[in-house]
Structures are given as C-alpha cells and as structure tokens.
Symmetry: C2
Subunit: 418 residues, 2 copies
C-alpha cells in the first residue's frame, strides 16, 4: 500500500505553524483569536484543495468529507483540534488534524476508494484556555452540552463565544448534534513522559483517566500584616497552603497512578502588607481507576475542612467537573495495535492522563487514539517537541487504522462491540 | 484651657468621608484618584477657611501654616494622610489630618497665640496601594527618596505618579526637601487589637516595628496536570506552600512580637490543568527587635532554598525593603504621656506594628504618635471602626501635646534630646 508522505506532511506542518508563531518556537492561537481564524482559513483551503466537502457547524467544528463507495454508510471520523494554549506548542492537536488530511491526500494520490466515507474534523475550543469548559466542540457534538450554552460562554473580558465565533466567520449553518459515525480515531502527542522515556515511537491508547475538578474558596480576615498578632489571624493563604501540601500527600498515598494538582490560585487583596482575606483555588485529581479518584476527592474535602478549622476561616468547595475514566473500544484498539505491528513501530499500550475530544466521541461511537512521544513529557508550552520520525510513524499507524475501518462493510451498526 | 470641639470635628469627619464613600461604609480614595483630588480640594478649602497659609510641594504634600509669635522659630508639624486603601476605612489617616486642623480651629477660637508656628500636613501617597513604595511623600520630605524618583513611579496601568499628580492639579511649586522642624506629632488608628482589647482610649506610641520585605520567585515546569507523574513534577506552588507554612512557623518560634505574612502571591500560567511553572510572592517580617527581624530573614532564606531543593525548582529572592525599628523621641513621648494624664485618658504605652509617615519624620526631628483603638484590630477594610469618644480623646491629647511643644521657647536646636 502507498504510505503517507513525510515531506508533504512536514511542509504543511511548517507552513501551518507559521500562523501565530512565537519567538520561542511555539504558537499562540487560542480559540477564536485572529490567529485561530487564520489557521481555520488555511485548513479549509487545504481541505478544499484535497477535494473534501467542507461543513462548518454552529459551534465552529470544521468537517471535511471524502465520499465512500457506499456513501450512505456511517463515516469513519479522524481528527483533533488546531486551537492552542496561550504560547503553546506546535504539535498538540495539529498533528491529528493534518494527519487526517495527509491520509486523504495519500488515498487520493493512490486513487484508492474506500467503502465508507472518511471525514476529517477540527474540533472547536479543545484547549479551554479562553472559554471553559474545554473539549467544547466535541462535547456539544456528543450531546454533552447544548449549542446555546456553548455560544453563551464568556471569556475574562466578557466576550461571548458565540459573538467571537461570528466575528471570525466560523459560526456555520450546520447543526452541531450527534449523528451516526462508524468510528473515530485521533492522533495526539502523549503530553506525558512514558513513550519518550521508553524510547518508543507510538502508543496504542486504551482509555483516558477519570478526573475530578474542585473550586475551593477560603475566606478569612484582611488585617494589616504589621499590628495583627499571629494568634488573632485568619489567613486564607495559610489554610490554602495546607491543602496544597495535602493534595501532594494524597496523590502520593492513594493508588499508583493518581495525580493531584493545584493549578490555579488567586489571592485577595493580594497586597504585600495585608493578610490574605480570600483565596480561590482549584484541585485536580486524575486516575484510570474511578474509585481512586473518588477516594482522593473525599480525602481532600476532609483536608479542606481541617485546614479551615485550624485557621478559623470559612471554606466553600464544589465539584465543577467529574468525568469518569473512559475505556476505548476494543475493536478500534486492536485495529490500531495491528496497524502499529504492520508498520513495525516500537509501541506500547497505555492510557491517557489528559482528556481529549476522543473522550466525548467514545460516548457514542467506537473510538481509539494513537499517541506519539512528548520529549521530556513536556506539553502546553513552547518547548513541546516530538521527533519528526515519530510523527510520521504515528500518522502511518493512523492511516492504516482508518483505512482498515473505512473498508469495513455494512453491518448492523447496533451490534458493534462497545 | 479650651478643649477641642467634638461636634465640629465630627461634622468635618462626616462631610470629608462623603468623598469616595462606598456602599459598605468605607471610602475609596486611592492616591491621585479623582476622589483623592476632591478630598485634597476640600482640605485646602478648610485650611484656607481656618486662616492657614497653604503650600503644596512638588510631590503633592499639602502644608497649612499658622504663624507663631516668633515666626522664625522651627514649627511644630502635625498631620497624617488622606489617601486610602482601595475600599479602605474612614479613620485611617483622616483623623490625624482633621485632628491637626481641629487644633488650629480651637486655638483660633480661643484667640491663643503660640510661640512657634504650627503646621498641619497631609502627606502624599502614604498607603502605597497604587504607587510603591508607601509613605512616599514623607519619605521624599525626609530625604529618603528623590522627588524625581517619586514622579517616575508607575502604577499597574503604566500611569506615572508625576503625570497623575499634574492631572489632579497637585504638583506644587514648593521643593520637597528636609527643613528645620521643632517636632512632629501624628494621631492615627492603632490598626491592631491591643487598645480595644484592653478597653483603653489612647496609646502613647514609643516606636515602630522594624520590618523586612522579600520578593521571592520559584520557577519550575509547566507540564500538563494529567499525564505528568508526581515524581517528575517541579511544581512552583508546592515549593511556595512550604514557605508559607515556614513563615507561620518562624513567626511562632522567634521572638514574642515577631509577625510574618505572605500577603501577595501570583501563579503562572494559573490554569486548572497546568502544573504551576512560576510563583512570585512576598514575605513580610516585623518585630520591634531588629535582631529578631534579621534572624527571621535568615531562616526564611534557608527555608526558600530547602523548599526549592525538595521540589527541584529554581529559587530567587531579594530583600526589597528593610527598615530598622524606630524609637521615638523621649521628650515627645513624655509630652504625649503628660497630655494623656492631663486629659484623664485611659492609656498605655505601646509600639506600632505598622509603618507610618512618623517613621520617616523620626529620622530628622523629634517625633511621637498618638494612637486610638481599632475595634477588633481591623484596618485597611471598610469595617474599620473607632468609637467617636476615643477619636475625641485622642485629638485632645494631640491638642495638648502640640500646644505644649509649640510654646517651647527658642533653644539651641542641635541640643534637642534625640
């Protein structure tokens, strides 16, 4: 069979990442920014050049469709996202979308027709840095969120997702709603160190960690840092520091794979000579074992109450997100593994610590993912890096998996092994 | 002797605090804001109504001079400041300036002439919430800072102190520089709980705590909170939390009066699912014993290094301010104590945990302060409160102390007991 073209993919990768390029070698293309618009424009142009039929839906997801021999069959969907973190990396998301396009070009060049249609997708607002929640476009598509909810989201400046989407010209006419898909594949950087540390080129992803997110607030007293004796203080930051340490301790004592992070923290009034009155912060726990996540959540609730009692401050906390771990479709996983064997890739099976659009797709169609290494485990920064040979190998694995599935004949779709 | 008028002072206090009044009962008059301009305008008008000769200097300090019988003698200076914290209290600073004006009105009404001139001062930018450093106007007056340095300071929006001063019309013609003063007195709220807890009306302030301020930065790695195993993390916030706890521990184990605070803390990138890469924070230690302050500073430096080593992050720290403790002038202290005895006030002697304009004045003329209680020890918030009878008692003590000093005959000023 014809293999994908490393040169064509590399050329596209480099030209795509000129858009929003940063001085330190990353890209800055947060959702619905001007740079994100230019990236979308280029993608649509390339989709059209490759003969894909382009559809933009009401939350800005972009689909490019290549007809199948039996065009009424449910399509195989392949893709990822092209929005970035603020000053993020060049690989995250991009290789999954350009990889899907490269598959189409390879099939076109070889004159290969597939039984089923193949669609390449670029999901809207995967990163969630400007509008929360993240994985928004795929979440709406999967029926987790309402399109109107998505359009009503506001960024920190009060700009609405819907208005910004219209501003950049990507509020499409197509409804964003679940429709019949045969399967979904996504190529992505691992964002962790396992593949790179083991010297492997590819990861066959069997599932995604479950996670819980807390918003926590401690409220104490904003007294003057000089004349207020220590025993009269109600310092919201001292209580918070107890919890930061507790999160580290819980992650170290509950389950092998549990990770815990306090990533966001805001102090008020945040003045050098005023005792912190309020601190708002977040807690993130993840594990592939949902019972572990729940135990960690219970323990941190206790620690929050204990910290509040010790410092005599008020505590409030709520779970703002709880997503159960995802086990991908056995059939899709084995298709990816067989493709990796076929290519002769050095690979392992693993689960993803990060959430992906594939997590939502897994909810209603057979899904799996292909990982390529993140050198040093680094992602979400300009230093993100993957060896190009690994990108090529991962894309070739994706190519063979998609081709295999796109040639699956018509079956009673309800019987697909989930 | 004629006593000050509680009614007149109260009327002025209430009318003054209409300017920048907040819904929750405080005032919002940060330095060089429009509300601060209106407060200055009203003060100048009242100074002129009281027959004071008004001078505004090049950094915006406002002086109102009442001639003495021997007008060439060095004047007694009395005052404080009228700028506020953002959404601060109504008493902080204001009672010291309006108290000085009330003394002048009382002397005017009684037709009392003093040997020396009396000047009432409102210092520019005492709070330091918009432009750092704080106590700026008195610092320039005392020769600690250059006027050009003061005018070059920028707020967070990049507006310069000098330009904002001109904008509100308070860049005066008079040079701001040390000149001969006989003595300086300042009435202020305690900002701590001692007087209120002891049920006293007045504090005779013998000095001000020394303090040290650190800026600290930890720099780690901004990896994804999901796929990054705990043992590979370099989390700047975990290291910071160690130091927050260490500051609390140091304050609890070094010297009776030592207080320690982490008041300001900024996390980057400050995202729920990204491990904190950098944290910038401050440390504030204060004690009346400078050796205690220095020991605390040494210990926190060690703790910063240890925390950085444990988490394998980079640490940088620097002392951005170190002011030694101030012992006020024995003569002025005893004058205040005698005035408090004379008035029959319930008082104690204490030292101030907070810095004041008096700290800088103490550098070159005999100085002392009068405190009145802060109920609950609360200050720098809208909840700041002092019983009115205590404000009146404190002002009467100030009145008698100033009158006593203003009638001291000419002496060889170099012989004043410092």
């Amino acid at each position: 069979m014809t293999e994908i073209s490393s040169e064509r993919l590399r050329d596209r990768f480099d030209r795509f990442n000129e858009i929003g390029a940063t001085e330190r070698g990353g890209v800055n293309r947060p959702t619905l920014s001007d740079a994100n618009k230019r990236a979308r424009d280029r993608l649509v142009e390339w989709f059209q050049d490759a003969g894909l039929e382009v559809t933009v839906d009401e939350v800005g997801n972009i689909f490019g469709r290549r007809a199948g021999r039996n065009d009424d069959l449910a399509p195989v969907l392949v893709g990822s996202h092209v929005d970035s973190q603020y000053n993020g990396g060049r690989y995250d998301g991009v290789i999954g979308v350009l990889g899907g396009l490269e598959i189409v070009e390879t099939l076109n060049d070889a004159g290969v027709e597939t039984e089923r249609p193949i669609e390449v997708v670029s999901w809207s607002n995967e990163e969630g840095v400007r509008f929360q929640p993240d994985m928004l476009g795929s979440g709406v598509f999967a029926g987790k969120f309402d399109p109107e909810f998505a359009r009503s989201l506001e960024d920190k400046e009060g700009k609405r997702f819907g208005e910004e989407l219209e501003r950049i010209g990507y509020r499409g006419d197509a409804p964003c709603e679940p429709r019949e898909l045969h399967s979904y594949f996504e190529l992505h950087v691992e964002q962790g160190p396992k593949l790179a540390d083991a010297g492997l080129s590819v990861g066959v992803v069997e599932g995604v960690y479950g996670f819980v997110w807390f918003d926590v607030t401690f409220s104490g007293s904003a007294d003057h840092a000089g004349p207020t004796p220590m025993h009269l203080r109600h310092d919201a930051l001292v209580a918070t520091s107890d919890v930061v340490e507790a999160v580290r301790r819980i992650a170290g004592t509950e389950g092998d794979d549990l990770v815990g992070t306090v990533g966001s923290l805001d102090v008020s009034p945040n003045s050098i000579n005023v005792i912190p009155e309020t601190v708002d912060f977040t807690v993130d726990f993840r594990s592939y074992d949902d019972e572990t996540v729940d135990r960690a959540a219970d323990r941190v609730r206790e620690e929050i109450e204990h910290a509040a009692a010790r410092e005599d401050v008020e505590a409030s906390h709520e779970v703002i997100m709880r997503i159960e771990s995802q086990a991908f479709d056995d059939g899709c996983i084995e298709t990816v593994a067989a493709a990796a064997d076929d290519v002769g890739a050095d690979y392992t099976r693993l689960v993803s610590g990060a959430g992906h659009d594939a997590s939502y797709l897994n909810g209603f169609c057979p899904t799996a993912m292909v990982f390529v290494p993140s050198v040093g485990g680094v992602s979400h920064t300009e230093d993100e890096y993957t060896e190009w040979t690994d990108v090529v190998t991962g894309t070739e694995v994706l190519h063979r998996a998609v081709l295999e599935k796109a040639n699956e004949p018509e079956v009673d779709e309800t019987e697909v092994d989930r």
